[in-house]
């Protein structure tokens, strides 16, 4: 059996080895992130059959839990680490050709650190360790947002850093309060003892943790940094931030609510918060003229949908939410990667300058179209089964409230469709100025990851059974906290 520690240790070690490889050859640096992520992808996929039977608990230092820092590679952790490795691998191939200027070795190092932090967050079983990995993720993403060094990038990075630093301070206060109450940092051990103290004293750390982690997860009203940061970063980083970083934030919120606190009384609040995030995100996206800002606001909307689905907290709802995370990671990464070279060719982020792209860059435009259709939820793309599951979960509640709420969610989807179809119309049907025989397709290193993402979106959309096993057991890990506690503490 492969030890899940390698999922964190190998990319972390390689990240710090990148400057050393630079001594051998400057060209070697950029091939390190794909190698590390390919390794992670293979290890995660090979762990899936084992964790479907029972979670793998790794105790570091030889002490039994709860006295050690432990890694819990359950279905949720391995599912997320596989998504992170997959998207990270594809985006790092894209970056081989896309990142040419500036301090490239720092880019690749920070990129690998960001993914290491994300993998650490989803695998750890210790709440302070979660905070540390979260900080690795956040600090590298602050620096990467500012990578281009232009006015917009620096300004957004400053905004992101101030809000993120407040968030991490709140998380740390929450962790300190939990330690003061329970004398332990192990999430399973806290979860076991959570009912032994009065609900009021648990409420304050819960609020602090949700607020702090929610800033990184961009839950409304904590999402002010997101549109700036995602639109000013290099496109490969936007793809990672949208496709991975905010999902990891949502994972942390879900883990805290479902497993650590078992706070079933705030599920309805989560549903309403998700709906609000969805509507605010989609309505703001509708009025955007900048293509990357449009995609960033659409990410907020999708995050709202995920939170909504997780808040339903039935088996169908959580499966739908996790499925939506997969669908959003693949589709939004594809959209940002496709848009990256369109912006590169036109030199502007304005949607109106994209007209005629369907003829200039046919493959990239096709990729954008598939990603957009998938996010809107059209069959046969991966967005369809995930949205379908969420609607089904809400209707299965058989309450009038949820029927009304899901109607509002579908209204949000209609808005989403409206703005995406407007962009697609610009791509294909407005190109009168450009002569049709002028082709400027993206380079091959960008087309390979775009192509793989397109194939994955269609394949998973047609055969959702490929992922249902791992999704079902991941949902039951989140919903069944007694099982999680028993799995970790024995």
């Amino acid at each position: 059996m492969v030890n899940p520690v390698l999922l964190i240790a190998v990319p972390l070690g390689l990240a710090f080895a990148i400057p050393l490889f630079g001594f051998i050859s400057q060209k070697l640096e950029k091939y390190i992130p794909p190698v590390a992520m390919l390794f992670n992808l293979i290890v995660s996929l090979s762990l899936i059959p084992k964790v479907l039977e029972q979670p793998i608990v790794v105790s570091i230092g030889g002490f039994p839990p709860p006295f050690c820092i432990n890694l819990v590679a359950g279905p949720v952790g391995v599912l997320f680490s596989a998504i992170i490795a997959l998207v990270g691998f594809l985006v790092s191939i894209y970056a081989l050709d896309y990142i040419k200027e500036g301090a490239t070795e720092k880019y690749h190092m920070l990129y690998l650190l960001l993914l290491t932090g994300a993998t650490g967050v989803v695998l750890t079983g210790d709440i302070f360790n979660l905070f540390v990995f979260f900080e690795i993720l956040c600090i590298s993403s602050y620096a990467l947002v500012a990578y281009l060094g232009n006015r917009a990038g620096i300004e957004s990075a400053v905004k992101y850093l101030i809000q993120g630093a407040i968030g991490s301070s709140l998380v740390l206060i929450g962790v300190a309060l939990l330690y003061g109450l329970f004398g332990t940092l192990n999430m399973a051990d806290i979860a076991r003892n959570i009912d032994s103290v009065s609900p009021i004293s648990v409420f304050v750390p819960l609020v602090l943790l949700i607020t702090g982690l929610g800033i990184e997860g961009a839950i409304f009203p904590l999402n002010a940094w997101l549109p700036d940061a995602h639109s000013s970063a290099p496109s490969s980083i936007s793809a990672i931030l949208s496709g991975i970083a905010i999902e990891v934030g949502i994972y942390a919120v879900a883990r805290v609510i479902f497993t650590v606190f078992g706070a079933s009384s705030i599920f309805l609040f989560l549903v309403l918060l998700g709906l609000l995030t969805l509507l605010v995100g989609e309505m703001s996206a509708f009025s955007q003229k900048n293509i990357k800002r449009l995609l960033a606001y659409s990410s907020i909307g999708q995050i709202g949908l995920i939170v909504f689905a997780l808040g339903i907290a039935t088996s169908y709802g959580v499966v739908g939410g996790l499925f939506q995370i997969i669908s959003h990671s693949l589709s939004k990464a594809l959209l940002f990667l496709a848009v990256g070279y369109m912006i590169y060719r036109t030199g502007s982020m304005d949607i109106s300058t994209l007209d005629g792209m369907g003829k200039r860059m046919p493959f990239t435009s096709l990729a954008f179209t598939i990603g957009a259709f998938s996010l809107v939820g059209l069959p046969p793309f991966v967005g369809f089964p995930s949205k379908f599951l969420i609607v089904r979960a809400a209707l299965a509640k058989e309450e009038v409230l949820f029927t009304v709420l899901i109607a509002l969610v579908l209204l949000g989807t209609v808005i989403e469709g409206a703005y995406f179809f407007r962009v697609i119309q610009t791509l294909y049907f407005k190109g009168k100025r450009v002569s049709p025989n002028k082709r400027e397709e993206a380079p091959i290193a960008a087309l390979i990851p775009i192509g793989i993402l397109m194939i994955l979106i269609i394949v998973i959309g047609v055969y959702p059974r490929l992922v249902t096993d791992i999704l079902n057991s991941a949902a039951s890990e989140l919903l069944n906290r007694i099982g999680y506690i028993k799995g970790v503490l024995g």
Partner: protein, 119 residues
């Protein structure tokens, strides 16, 4: 006065946290905002330390046989604080280097005047 004796560290810690938060929310100058973040972090670190503190307690090392475990200061929060300080230094360094770049681009550190990115 016994109230103060018991809770003085907690009062101090939360005082620092709220002072820091106030500075971050109210001040316009980026350097002052960064100072606010730093004060807030110091408050959080003080809070972590005071959770494990015992008045007159010793270091958790069994150097002589008569030391009993109940009189020892909890070492875990101190380890946490060390980590948190290192993270704080990284954030602070990044924030200050961003502040330099921001000044190069805009010629000002007043955050109210830097408004190119809007909703």
């Amino acid at each position: 006065m016994s109230f103060l004796n018991h809770y003085i560290y907690y009062i101090g810690a939360f005082g620092l946290i709220f002072i820091g938060l106030y500075i971050v929310l109210v001040k316009h100058n980026l350097i002052k905002v960064i100072i606010g973040l730093s004060i807030m972090e110091t408050g959080v670190n003080l809070f972590l330390i005071s959770i494990g503190y015992i008045k007159g307690g010793t270091a958790p090392i069994f150097s002589t046989p008569e030391i009993e475990a109940a009189r020892m200061v909890d070492p875990v929060p101190q380890a946490l604080v060390l980590t948190a300080i290192v993270i704080g230094v990284a954030v602070l360094a990044l924030a200050l280097s961003l502040a330099i770049r921001l000044y190069q681009h805009y010629g000002t550190l007043n955050l109210r005047k830097i408004k190119e990115q809007r909703w």
